[in-house]
Protein backbone atom coordinates (compact mmCIF):
# COMPACT_ATOMS: atom_id res chain seq x y z
CA UNK A 1 0.00 0.00 0.00
CA UNK A 2 1.21 3.47 -0.83
CA UNK A 3 1.83 5.69 2.13
CA UNK A 4 0.30 9.16 2.15
CA UNK A 5 2.47 11.05 4.55
CA UNK A 6 0.96 14.19 6.07
CA UNK A 7 2.76 14.21 9.38
CA UNK A 8 5.66 16.47 8.44
CA UNK A 9 5.50 18.58 11.59
CA UNK A 10 6.30 15.39 13.50
CA UNK A 11 9.15 14.31 11.27
CA UNK A 12 10.03 14.29 7.60
CA UNK A 13 11.38 11.95 5.03
CA UNK A 14 15.11 12.36 4.48
CA UNK A 15 15.43 13.83 0.98
CA UNK A 16 17.12 11.63 -1.62
CA UNK A 17 19.63 14.40 -2.31
CA UNK A 18 20.50 14.43 1.39
CA UNK A 19 21.01 10.67 1.56
CA UNK A 20 23.23 10.82 -1.50
CA UNK A 21 25.31 13.56 0.10
CA UNK A 22 25.75 11.60 3.32
CA UNK A 23 26.44 8.10 2.07
CA UNK A 24 30.15 8.44 1.26
CA UNK A 25 30.89 9.55 4.81
CA UNK A 26 29.76 6.43 6.63
CA UNK A 27 31.98 3.72 5.28
CA UNK A 28 34.42 5.71 3.21
CA UNK A 29 35.39 9.04 4.72
CA UNK A 30 34.69 8.27 8.30
CA UNK A 31 37.55 10.29 9.76
CA UNK A 32 37.25 12.51 12.79
CA UNK A 33 37.24 16.10 11.57
CA UNK A 34 39.50 17.23 14.39
CA UNK A 35 42.13 14.62 13.56
CA UNK A 36 45.57 15.35 12.17
CA UNK A 37 45.23 13.44 8.95
CA UNK A 38 44.04 14.30 5.48
CA UNK A 39 41.47 11.62 5.88
CA UNK A 40 39.85 13.36 8.81
CA UNK A 41 40.35 16.71 7.15
CA UNK A 42 38.34 15.80 4.09
CA UNK A 43 35.38 15.57 6.43
CA UNK A 44 36.38 18.86 8.05
CA UNK A 45 36.03 20.66 4.73
CA UNK A 46 32.58 19.22 4.10
CA UNK A 47 31.53 20.31 7.55
CA UNK A 48 32.65 23.86 6.91
CA UNK A 49 30.56 23.89 3.74
CA UNK A 50 27.58 22.49 5.60
CA UNK A 51 27.92 25.11 8.32
CA UNK A 52 27.87 27.79 5.64
CA UNK A 53 24.68 26.40 4.10
CA UNK A 54 22.93 26.23 7.44
CA UNK A 55 24.01 29.79 8.16
CA UNK A 56 22.72 30.91 4.77
CA UNK A 57 19.23 29.56 5.41
CA UNK A 58 18.81 31.90 8.38
CA UNK A 59 21.13 34.69 7.19
CA UNK A 60 23.67 34.05 9.90
CA UNK A 61 27.42 33.76 9.94
CA UNK A 62 28.95 30.24 9.96
CA UNK A 63 30.71 31.07 13.25
CA UNK A 64 27.31 31.58 14.83
CA UNK A 65 26.16 28.03 14.11
CA UNK A 66 26.55 25.36 16.79
CA UNK A 67 25.56 21.84 15.83
CA UNK A 68 23.59 19.98 18.48
CA UNK A 69 21.81 16.63 18.58
CA UNK A 70 18.23 17.88 18.24
CA UNK A 71 15.83 20.76 18.68
CA UNK A 72 15.37 19.83 22.31
CA UNK A 73 19.09 20.10 23.01
CA UNK A 74 19.21 23.45 21.22
CA UNK A 75 16.32 24.76 23.32
CA UNK A 76 17.75 23.42 26.57
CA UNK A 77 21.23 24.77 25.74
CA UNK A 78 19.95 28.25 24.95
CA UNK A 79 18.11 28.56 28.24
CA UNK A 80 20.94 27.01 30.25
CA UNK A 81 23.46 29.42 28.76
CA UNK A 82 21.26 32.42 29.55
CA UNK A 83 20.85 31.32 33.15
CA UNK A 84 24.61 30.90 33.47
CA UNK A 85 25.21 34.29 31.92
CA UNK A 86 22.83 35.97 34.38
CA UNK A 87 22.99 33.91 37.55
CA UNK A 88 21.27 36.64 39.54
CA UNK A 89 18.25 37.11 37.32
CA UNK A 90 15.34 35.02 38.43
CA UNK A 91 12.54 35.61 35.93
CA UNK A 92 12.20 33.62 32.72
CA UNK A 93 9.40 34.17 30.24
CA UNK A 94 7.78 31.96 27.62
CA UNK A 95 4.29 31.17 26.31
CA UNK A 96 1.88 28.46 27.37
CA UNK A 97 1.83 26.86 23.92
CA UNK A 98 5.54 26.07 23.58
CA UNK A 99 6.90 22.69 22.69
CA UNK A 100 7.68 20.51 25.76
CA UNK A 101 11.40 21.13 25.11
CA UNK A 102 10.83 24.65 26.43
CA UNK A 103 7.66 24.28 28.47
CA UNK A 104 8.78 21.29 30.54
CA UNK A 105 12.19 22.84 31.01
CA UNK A 106 10.63 26.04 32.32
CA UNK A 107 8.38 24.06 34.64
CA UNK A 108 11.41 22.17 35.92
CA UNK A 109 13.21 25.46 36.52
CA UNK A 110 10.17 26.79 38.35
CA UNK A 111 9.52 23.73 40.49
CA UNK A 112 13.08 22.62 41.24
CA UNK A 113 15.22 25.72 40.87
CA UNK A 114 12.89 28.41 42.14
CA UNK A 115 12.71 30.51 38.99
CA UNK A 116 9.87 32.98 38.55
CA UNK A 117 8.32 31.61 35.37
CA UNK A 118 5.91 33.72 33.33
CA UNK A 119 3.78 31.74 30.89
CA UNK A 120 2.25 34.30 28.55
CA UNK A 121 -1.17 33.10 27.36
CA UNK A 122 -2.63 33.01 23.86
CA UNK A 123 -6.14 33.92 22.72
CA UNK A 124 -8.65 31.60 21.07
CA UNK A 125 -6.90 31.98 17.74
CA UNK A 126 -3.59 31.01 19.28
CA UNK A 127 -2.11 34.50 19.02
CA UNK A 128 0.10 35.72 21.83
CA UNK A 129 -1.04 38.32 24.36
CA UNK A 130 1.64 40.86 23.49
CA UNK A 131 0.60 43.42 26.10
CA UNK A 132 0.97 40.89 28.83
CA UNK A 133 4.32 39.82 27.43
CA UNK A 134 5.68 43.35 27.38
CA UNK A 135 4.28 44.09 30.81
CA UNK A 136 6.06 41.08 32.25
CA UNK A 137 9.53 42.18 31.06
CA UNK A 138 11.60 43.17 34.07
CA UNK A 139 15.21 43.98 34.98
CA UNK A 140 15.20 40.63 36.65
CA UNK A 141 14.48 38.73 33.41
CA UNK A 142 17.23 36.34 32.28
CA UNK A 143 15.63 35.23 29.02
CA UNK A 144 12.50 35.36 26.92
CA UNK A 145 11.98 32.27 24.79
CA UNK A 146 9.13 32.13 22.29
CA UNK A 147 8.51 29.78 19.42
CA UNK A 148 8.44 31.24 15.95
CA UNK A 149 5.67 28.90 14.76
CA UNK A 150 3.55 26.44 16.67
CA UNK A 151 3.97 22.76 15.87
CA UNK A 152 0.33 21.85 16.42
CA UNK A 153 -1.59 24.70 14.86
CA UNK A 154 1.07 26.34 12.71
CA UNK A 155 0.23 29.73 14.25
CA UNK A 156 3.11 32.18 13.73
CA UNK A 157 4.20 34.57 16.47
CA UNK A 158 5.46 38.00 15.32
CA UNK A 159 9.03 37.24 16.36
CA UNK A 160 10.84 40.17 14.69
CA UNK A 161 8.54 42.65 16.40
CA UNK A 162 8.76 40.89 19.76
CA UNK A 163 12.50 40.33 19.61
CA UNK A 164 13.16 43.98 18.93
CA UNK A 165 11.12 45.06 21.93
CA UNK A 166 12.71 42.46 24.20
CA UNK A 167 16.32 42.99 23.18
CA UNK A 168 15.90 46.78 23.34
CA UNK A 169 15.52 46.32 27.05
CA UNK A 170 18.79 44.39 27.18
CA UNK A 171 17.01 41.08 27.73
CA UNK A 172 18.20 37.95 25.95
CA UNK A 173 15.78 36.62 23.34
CA UNK A 174 15.64 33.04 22.12
CA UNK A 175 13.27 31.62 19.56
CA UNK A 176 12.41 28.01 18.85
CA UNK A 177 12.25 28.11 15.06
CA UNK A 178 12.09 24.33 14.67
CA UNK A 179 8.76 24.52 12.83
CA UNK A 180 9.31 27.84 11.10
CA UNK A 181 12.54 26.88 9.34
CA UNK A 182 12.06 25.90 5.75
CA UNK A 183 8.42 27.01 5.84
CA UNK A 184 8.71 30.77 6.19
CA UNK A 185 11.71 33.07 5.62
CA UNK A 186 14.01 33.52 8.61
CA UNK A 187 16.55 36.28 8.93
CA UNK A 188 18.25 36.31 12.31
CA UNK A 189 19.81 39.72 11.78
CA UNK A 190 16.65 41.47 10.68
CA UNK A 191 14.79 39.74 13.49
CA UNK A 192 17.17 40.78 16.30
CA UNK A 193 17.18 37.35 17.89
CA UNK A 194 20.06 36.36 20.13
CA UNK A 195 19.60 32.61 19.89
CA UNK A 196 17.53 30.39 17.62
CA UNK A 197 16.89 26.63 17.53
CA UNK A 198 16.51 24.40 14.49
CA UNK A 199 16.00 20.65 14.14
CA UNK A 200 17.17 18.70 11.11
CA UNK A 201 14.45 16.08 10.94
CA UNK A 202 11.76 18.68 10.36
CA UNK A 203 13.40 19.80 7.11
CA UNK A 204 14.25 16.50 5.42
CA UNK A 205 17.59 15.94 7.16
CA UNK A 206 18.01 12.93 9.48
CA UNK A 207 16.80 12.78 13.04
CA UNK A 208 19.35 13.45 15.74
CA UNK A 209 20.87 16.67 14.43
CA UNK A 210 19.98 20.18 15.49
CA UNK A 211 21.34 23.69 15.42
CA UNK A 212 21.64 26.48 17.89
CA UNK A 213 22.33 29.87 16.39
CA UNK A 214 24.17 32.09 18.86
CA UNK A 215 24.68 35.70 17.91
CA UNK A 216 28.29 36.76 17.53
CA UNK A 217 29.80 38.37 20.60
CA UNK A 218 27.33 36.77 22.97
CA UNK A 219 28.77 35.02 25.97
CA UNK A 220 27.85 31.37 25.57
CA UNK A 221 28.10 28.58 28.11
CA UNK A 222 28.22 25.06 26.73
CA UNK A 223 25.53 22.64 27.85
CA UNK A 224 27.42 19.50 26.91
CA UNK A 225 30.78 19.92 28.58
CA UNK A 226 33.65 17.94 27.12
CA UNK A 227 36.14 18.36 24.29
CA UNK A 228 36.87 21.45 22.21
CA UNK A 229 34.43 20.68 19.41
CA UNK A 230 32.29 23.49 17.98
CA UNK A 231 34.89 25.99 19.21
CA UNK A 232 34.42 24.81 22.76
CA UNK A 233 30.68 25.45 22.65
CA UNK A 234 29.51 21.81 22.54
CA UNK A 235 31.50 18.76 23.59
CA UNK A 236 31.14 15.43 21.81
CA UNK A 237 32.56 14.10 18.57
CA UNK A 238 30.85 15.86 15.69
CA UNK A 239 27.97 13.98 14.07
CA UNK A 240 29.72 14.44 10.76
CA UNK A 241 27.40 12.53 8.48
CA UNK A 242 24.27 14.20 9.78
CA UNK A 243 25.89 17.62 9.71
CA UNK A 244 26.74 17.10 6.07
CA UNK A 245 23.17 15.95 5.45
CA UNK A 246 21.77 18.95 7.28
CA UNK A 247 23.84 21.29 5.14
CA UNK A 248 22.30 19.81 2.02
CA UNK A 249 18.83 19.90 3.55
CA UNK A 250 19.20 23.60 4.37
CA UNK A 251 20.30 24.32 0.84
CA UNK A 252 17.22 22.50 -0.47
CA UNK A 253 14.96 24.21 2.06
CA UNK A 254 16.13 27.62 0.89
CA UNK A 255 15.41 26.65 -2.70
CA UNK A 256 12.00 25.23 -1.85
CA UNK A 257 10.75 28.10 0.28
CA UNK A 258 8.78 29.56 -2.67
CA UNK A 259 7.12 26.18 -3.30
CA UNK A 260 6.02 26.04 0.33
CA UNK A 261 4.13 29.26 -0.03
CA UNK A 262 2.49 28.38 -3.32
CA UNK A 263 2.11 24.71 -4.16
CA UNK A 264 2.10 23.32 -0.62
CA UNK A 265 -0.10 26.11 0.70
CA UNK A 266 -2.59 25.53 -2.11
CA UNK A 267 -2.78 21.83 -1.29
CA UNK A 268 -3.33 22.60 2.39
CA UNK A 269 -6.04 25.14 1.54
CA UNK A 270 -7.68 22.65 -0.78
CA UNK A 271 -7.69 19.95 1.89
CA UNK A 272 -9.12 22.40 4.41
CA UNK A 273 -11.94 23.63 2.20
CA UNK A 274 -12.87 20.12 1.10
CA UNK A 275 -13.08 18.85 4.67
CA UNK A 276 -15.11 21.88 5.76
CA UNK A 277 -17.45 21.42 2.82
CA UNK A 278 -17.98 17.68 3.03
CA UNK A 279 -18.17 17.12 6.78
CA UNK A 280 -20.53 18.91 9.17
CA UNK A 281 -19.53 20.25 12.61
CA UNK A 282 -15.92 20.82 11.81
CA UNK A 283 -13.70 23.66 12.96
CA UNK A 284 -10.18 24.76 12.05
CA UNK A 285 -7.90 25.60 14.98
CA UNK A 286 -5.62 28.63 14.97
CA UNK A 287 -5.34 32.01 13.32
CA UNK A 288 -6.15 31.33 9.67
CA UNK A 289 -4.38 34.44 8.43
CA UNK A 290 -1.26 33.84 10.38
CA UNK A 291 -0.32 30.25 9.93
CA UNK A 292 2.41 28.07 8.46
CA UNK A 293 1.55 27.24 4.84
CA UNK A 294 1.72 23.48 5.41
CA UNK A 295 -0.27 22.99 8.60
CA UNK A 296 -3.94 22.22 9.14
CA UNK A 297 -5.27 21.54 12.62
CA UNK A 298 -8.90 20.62 12.34
CA UNK A 299 -11.41 19.38 14.92
CA UNK A 300 -14.32 17.01 14.31
CA UNK A 301 -17.05 17.21 16.92
CA UNK A 302 -18.03 14.20 19.01
CA UNK A 303 -15.33 11.78 17.82
CA UNK A 304 -11.98 10.92 19.26
CA UNK A 305 -8.65 11.51 17.54
CA UNK A 306 -6.97 8.15 17.93
CA UNK A 307 -9.90 6.40 16.34
CA UNK A 308 -9.71 8.71 13.37
CA UNK A 309 -5.97 8.15 13.05
CA UNK A 310 -6.41 4.39 13.00
CA UNK A 311 -9.01 4.63 10.27
CA UNK A 312 -6.65 6.84 8.28
CA UNK A 313 -3.84 4.43 8.99
CA UNK A 314 -5.82 1.62 7.44
CA UNK A 315 -5.69 3.61 4.21
CA UNK A 316 -1.96 4.28 4.59
CA UNK A 317 -2.52 7.88 5.62
CA UNK A 318 -0.18 9.22 8.30
CA UNK A 319 -1.31 12.20 10.34
CA UNK A 320 -1.26 13.18 13.95
CA UNK A 321 -3.64 14.12 16.74
CA UNK A 322 -2.18 17.04 18.61
CA UNK A 323 1.58 16.87 18.98
CA UNK A 324 3.49 13.70 18.19
CA UNK A 325 5.45 14.19 21.35
CA UNK A 326 2.43 13.90 23.57
CA UNK A 327 0.72 11.04 21.79
CA UNK A 328 0.87 8.33 24.36
CA UNK A 329 -0.33 10.70 27.01
CA UNK A 330 -3.96 10.99 28.02
CA UNK A 331 -4.46 14.70 28.41
CA UNK A 332 -5.81 16.74 25.55
CA UNK A 333 -3.10 18.79 23.85
CA UNK A 334 -1.92 21.68 26.00
CA UNK A 335 -1.92 23.92 22.95
CA UNK A 336 -5.60 23.36 22.18
CA UNK A 337 -6.47 23.73 25.87
CA UNK A 338 -4.57 27.03 26.03
CA UNK A 339 -6.63 28.22 23.07
CA UNK A 340 -9.77 27.13 24.89
CA UNK A 341 -10.82 24.85 22.07
CA UNK A 342 -13.93 23.10 23.45
CA UNK A 343 -13.40 19.49 24.54
CA UNK A 344 -15.97 18.43 21.98
CA UNK A 345 -13.64 19.26 19.11
CA UNK A 346 -10.29 19.20 20.93
CA UNK A 347 -10.47 15.43 21.43
CA UNK A 348 -11.34 15.01 17.78
CA UNK A 349 -8.59 17.19 16.39
CA UNK A 350 -6.32 15.95 13.64
CA UNK A 351 -3.19 17.69 12.41
CA UNK A 352 -2.34 17.32 8.76
CA UNK A 353 1.11 18.72 8.00
CA UNK A 354 2.15 18.68 4.37
CA UNK A 355 5.38 18.80 2.43
CA UNK A 356 6.28 19.35 -1.21
CA UNK A 357 6.14 15.58 -1.67
CA UNK A 358 2.33 15.63 -1.36
CA UNK A 359 -0.06 15.68 -4.32
CA UNK A 360 -3.63 16.70 -5.03
CA UNK A 361 -4.60 13.04 -5.55
CA UNK A 362 -3.42 12.34 -2.04
CA UNK A 363 -5.58 15.17 -0.68
CA UNK A 364 -8.60 13.72 -2.45
CA UNK A 365 -7.93 10.33 -0.94
CA UNK A 366 -7.63 11.86 2.50
CA UNK A 367 -10.93 13.69 2.10
CA UNK A 368 -12.71 10.53 0.97
CA UNK A 369 -11.29 8.54 3.85
CA UNK A 370 -12.11 11.21 6.38
CA UNK A 371 -15.72 11.52 5.24
CA UNK A 372 -16.30 7.83 5.80
CA UNK A 373 -14.27 7.62 9.02
CA UNK A 374 -16.07 10.51 10.67
CA UNK A 375 -19.43 9.08 9.58
CA UNK A 376 -18.64 5.66 11.04
CA UNK A 377 -17.34 7.03 14.30
CA UNK A 378 -20.16 9.48 14.77
CA UNK A 379 -22.64 6.68 14.20
CA UNK A 380 -21.37 5.03 17.33
CA UNK A 381 -20.74 8.18 19.37
CA UNK A 382 -23.10 8.90 22.26
CA UNK A 383 -22.39 12.61 21.78
CA UNK A 384 -23.37 12.86 18.15
CA UNK A 385 -26.87 14.08 17.51
CA UNK A 386 -28.01 15.14 14.07
Amino acid sequence: MNVIYTDNNATTRVADEVIEEMLPFFGGFYGNPSSMHTFGDRVGKKIRQARQKVADLIHADPDEIIFTSCGTESDNSAVFSALNAYPDKKRIITSNVEHPAILNLFKYLRDKKGYDVVLVPVDKKGDLDLDLLYDSLSDDTAIVSLMWANNETGVIFPIPEIAEKVTEKGILFHTDAVQAAGKIPIDVRAAHVDMLSLSGHKIHAPKGIGVLYVKKGMKFFPYLIGGHQEKGRRGGTENTVSIIGLGKACELAAQQLPIMNTQVKELRDYLQSQLLEKIPSVSVNGDLENRLPNTLSIGFDAVEGESILLMLDKEGICASSGSACTSGSLDPSHVLMAMEVPFKSAHGTIRFSLSHYNTKEEMDHIVKTMVSAIETLRAMSPFWKD
Partner: protein
Protein backbone atom coordinates in the same frame (compact mmCIF):
# COMPACT_ATOMS: atom_id res chain seq x y z
CA UNK B 1 2.14 3.40 18.76
CA UNK B 2 0.08 1.03 20.83
CA UNK B 3 0.48 -2.60 20.11
CA UNK B 4 -3.08 -3.72 19.63
CA UNK B 5 -3.91 -7.39 19.23
CA UNK B 6 -5.65 -8.51 16.07
CA UNK B 7 -8.76 -9.06 18.18
CA UNK B 8 -8.73 -5.41 19.29
CA UNK B 9 -8.24 -4.22 15.74
CA UNK B 10 -11.04 -6.44 14.52
CA UNK B 11 -13.46 -5.23 17.21
CA UNK B 12 -12.50 -1.64 16.42
CA UNK B 13 -12.89 -1.93 12.68
CA UNK B 14 -15.96 -4.18 12.88
CA UNK B 15 -17.58 -3.38 16.20
CA UNK B 16 -20.42 -5.72 17.20
CA UNK B 17 -23.75 -4.42 18.48
CA UNK B 18 -23.28 -0.74 17.74
CA UNK B 19 -26.08 1.77 18.32
CA UNK B 20 -29.01 2.43 20.55
CA UNK B 21 -31.08 -0.60 21.51
CA UNK B 22 -34.66 0.61 21.06
CA UNK B 23 -36.24 -1.74 23.56
CA UNK B 24 -33.46 -1.72 26.16
CA UNK B 25 -34.63 -1.96 29.74
CA UNK B 26 -31.23 -1.38 31.37
CA UNK B 27 -28.85 1.43 30.45
CA UNK B 28 -25.45 2.31 31.96
CA UNK B 29 -23.44 5.39 31.14
CA UNK B 30 -19.91 6.23 32.13
CA UNK B 31 -17.15 8.63 31.16
CA UNK B 32 -17.60 12.06 29.65
CA UNK B 33 -16.68 14.18 26.69
CA UNK B 34 -14.09 16.01 28.75
CA UNK B 35 -12.35 12.81 29.76
CA UNK B 36 -11.84 11.79 26.17
CA UNK B 37 -13.89 8.64 26.39
CA UNK B 38 -17.42 7.67 27.26
CA UNK B 39 -19.57 4.57 26.93
CA UNK B 40 -23.34 4.10 26.95
CA UNK B 41 -24.34 0.46 27.36
CA UNK B 42 -27.83 -0.81 26.47
CA UNK B 43 -29.12 -4.16 27.77
CA UNK B 44 -32.34 -5.97 27.12
CA UNK B 45 -33.05 -8.19 30.10
CA UNK B 46 -35.82 -10.83 30.08
CA UNK B 47 -38.07 -11.89 32.93
CA UNK B 48 -35.45 -14.41 34.15
CA UNK B 49 -32.89 -11.65 34.48
CA UNK B 50 -31.11 -12.99 31.44
CA UNK B 51 -29.47 -10.52 29.05
CA UNK B 52 -31.02 -11.31 25.68
CA UNK B 53 -29.50 -8.41 23.80
CA UNK B 54 -26.86 -5.74 24.31
CA UNK B 55 -25.54 -2.78 22.39
CA UNK B 56 -23.32 0.25 22.91
CA UNK B 57 -22.46 3.77 21.85
CA UNK B 58 -18.86 4.78 22.46
CA UNK B 59 -16.79 7.91 22.14
CA UNK B 60 -13.13 7.12 22.50
CA UNK B 61 -10.04 5.49 21.18
CA UNK B 62 -9.75 2.16 19.42
CA UNK B 63 -9.48 0.18 22.62
CA UNK B 64 -12.51 1.94 24.07
CA UNK B 65 -14.56 0.91 21.06
CA UNK B 66 -13.15 -2.62 21.11
CA UNK B 67 -13.73 -2.99 24.86
CA UNK B 68 -17.32 -1.88 24.45
CA UNK B 69 -17.87 -4.24 21.58
CA UNK B 70 -16.29 -7.10 23.52
CA UNK B 71 -18.38 -6.30 26.57
CA UNK B 72 -21.63 -6.63 24.65
CA UNK B 73 -20.53 -9.96 23.26
CA UNK B 74 -19.46 -11.22 26.67
CA UNK B 75 -22.66 -10.38 28.50
CA UNK B 76 -25.13 -11.48 25.89
CA UNK B 77 -26.81 -14.62 27.27
CA UNK B 78 -25.63 -14.12 30.82
CA UNK B 79 -27.90 -13.64 33.78
CA UNK B 80 -27.50 -10.37 35.61
CA UNK B 81 -25.84 -12.21 38.49
CA UNK B 82 -23.32 -13.70 36.13
CA UNK B 83 -22.78 -10.36 34.43
CA UNK B 84 -22.18 -8.70 37.77
CA UNK B 85 -19.12 -10.90 38.18
CA UNK B 86 -17.51 -9.83 34.89
CA UNK B 87 -14.28 -7.97 35.64
CA UNK B 88 -12.27 -5.54 33.58
CA UNK B 89 -9.71 -8.30 33.28
CA UNK B 90 -12.31 -10.50 31.55
CA UNK B 91 -12.86 -7.81 28.94
CA UNK B 92 -9.14 -7.38 28.33
CA UNK B 93 -8.68 -11.16 28.14
CA UNK B 94 -11.51 -11.49 25.65
CA UNK B 95 -9.55 -9.13 23.40
CA UNK B 96 -6.31 -11.03 23.83
CA UNK B 97 -5.02 -8.27 26.11
CA UNK B 98 -4.84 -4.50 26.02
CA UNK B 99 -1.75 -2.28 26.09
CA UNK B 100 -1.24 -1.44 29.75
CA UNK B 101 -1.70 2.27 29.00
CA UNK B 102 -5.18 1.40 27.78
CA UNK B 103 -6.46 -0.75 30.65
CA UNK B 104 -8.76 2.10 31.68
CA UNK B 105 -10.92 1.25 28.67
CA UNK B 106 -11.74 -2.14 30.14
CA UNK B 107 -12.40 -0.47 33.49
CA UNK B 108 -14.86 1.81 31.76
CA UNK B 109 -16.63 -1.26 30.35
CA UNK B 110 -17.01 -2.83 33.75
CA UNK B 111 -18.25 0.42 35.22
CA UNK B 112 -20.94 0.86 32.54
CA UNK B 113 -22.05 -2.71 33.06
CA UNK B 114 -22.44 -2.23 36.81
CA UNK B 115 -24.46 0.87 36.22
CA UNK B 116 -26.74 -0.86 33.75
CA UNK B 117 -27.39 -3.69 36.21
CA UNK B 118 -28.14 -1.20 38.94
CA UNK B 119 -30.40 0.68 36.58
CA UNK B 120 -32.41 -2.49 35.88
CA UNK B 121 -32.67 -3.33 39.54
CA UNK B 122 -33.64 0.20 40.38
CA UNK B 123 -30.69 0.63 42.70
CA UNK B 124 -29.28 4.10 42.93
CA UNK B 125 -25.51 3.81 42.79
CA UNK B 126 -23.86 6.36 45.01
CA UNK B 127 -22.07 8.42 42.40
CA UNK B 128 -18.36 8.44 43.09
CA UNK B 129 -18.31 8.12 46.85
CA UNK B 130 -15.14 8.89 48.74
CA UNK B 131 -12.79 11.82 48.49
CA UNK B 132 -11.91 13.31 45.11
CA UNK B 133 -8.25 12.68 44.27
CA UNK B 134 -7.92 13.49 40.58
CA UNK B 135 -9.94 16.46 39.43
CA UNK B 136 -8.96 16.18 35.79
CA UNK B 137 -10.60 12.78 35.48
CA UNK B 138 -12.88 12.88 38.52
CA UNK B 139 -11.49 9.86 40.28
CA UNK B 140 -11.90 9.29 44.01
CA UNK B 141 -9.68 7.59 46.55
CA UNK B 142 -12.14 4.70 46.88
CA UNK B 143 -12.00 4.03 43.16
CA UNK B 144 -8.23 4.03 43.29
CA UNK B 145 -8.21 1.67 46.26
CA UNK B 146 -10.58 -0.70 44.41
CA UNK B 147 -8.49 -0.71 41.26
CA UNK B 148 -5.23 -1.16 43.15
CA UNK B 149 -6.62 -4.15 45.01
CA UNK B 150 -8.39 -5.75 42.07
CA UNK B 151 -5.48 -5.46 39.65
CA UNK B 152 -2.47 -5.51 41.94
CA UNK B 153 -1.35 -2.05 40.82
CA UNK B 154 1.97 -0.86 42.19
CA UNK B 155 2.85 2.54 40.79
CA UNK B 156 1.12 5.83 39.99
CA UNK B 157 1.74 4.96 36.36
CA UNK B 158 -0.32 1.80 36.80
CA UNK B 159 -3.14 3.82 38.34
CA UNK B 160 -3.05 6.24 35.42
CA UNK B 161 -3.19 3.33 33.00
CA UNK B 162 -6.22 1.82 34.70
CA UNK B 163 -8.16 4.90 35.80
CA UNK B 164 -6.56 7.79 33.89
CA UNK B 165 -6.17 9.50 37.25
CA UNK B 166 -2.91 11.46 37.20
CA UNK B 167 -2.66 11.52 33.43
CA UNK B 168 -3.80 15.12 33.08
CA UNK B 169 -2.21 18.04 34.91
CA UNK B 170 -0.42 15.61 37.21
CA UNK B 171 -0.97 17.60 40.38
CA UNK B 172 -2.71 14.64 42.04
CA UNK B 173 0.21 12.26 41.57
CA UNK B 174 1.52 12.68 45.11
CA UNK B 175 -1.89 11.95 46.55
CA UNK B 176 -2.22 8.86 44.33
CA UNK B 177 1.10 7.63 45.64
CA UNK B 178 -0.20 8.03 49.20
CA UNK B 179 -3.31 6.06 48.41
CA UNK B 180 -1.27 3.23 46.88
CA UNK B 181 0.99 3.22 49.92
CA UNK B 182 -2.00 3.04 52.26
CA UNK B 183 -3.32 -0.02 50.41
CA UNK B 184 0.08 -1.66 50.59
CA UNK B 185 0.33 -0.85 54.30
CA UNK B 186 -2.98 -2.60 54.91
CA UNK B 187 -1.36 -5.69 53.40
Amino acid sequence: MWEYTDKVKDHFMHPRNVGELKDANAVGETGSLNCGDALKLFLKVDENERIVDASFMTFGCASAVASSSALTEIVKGMTLDEAAKVTNGDIADYLGGLPKEKMHCSVMGKSALQKAIADYRGIQIMEKPGEMVCECFEVTDLEIIDAVKANGLETTEDVTNYLKAGGGCGKCLDRIEEVIASVKAEG
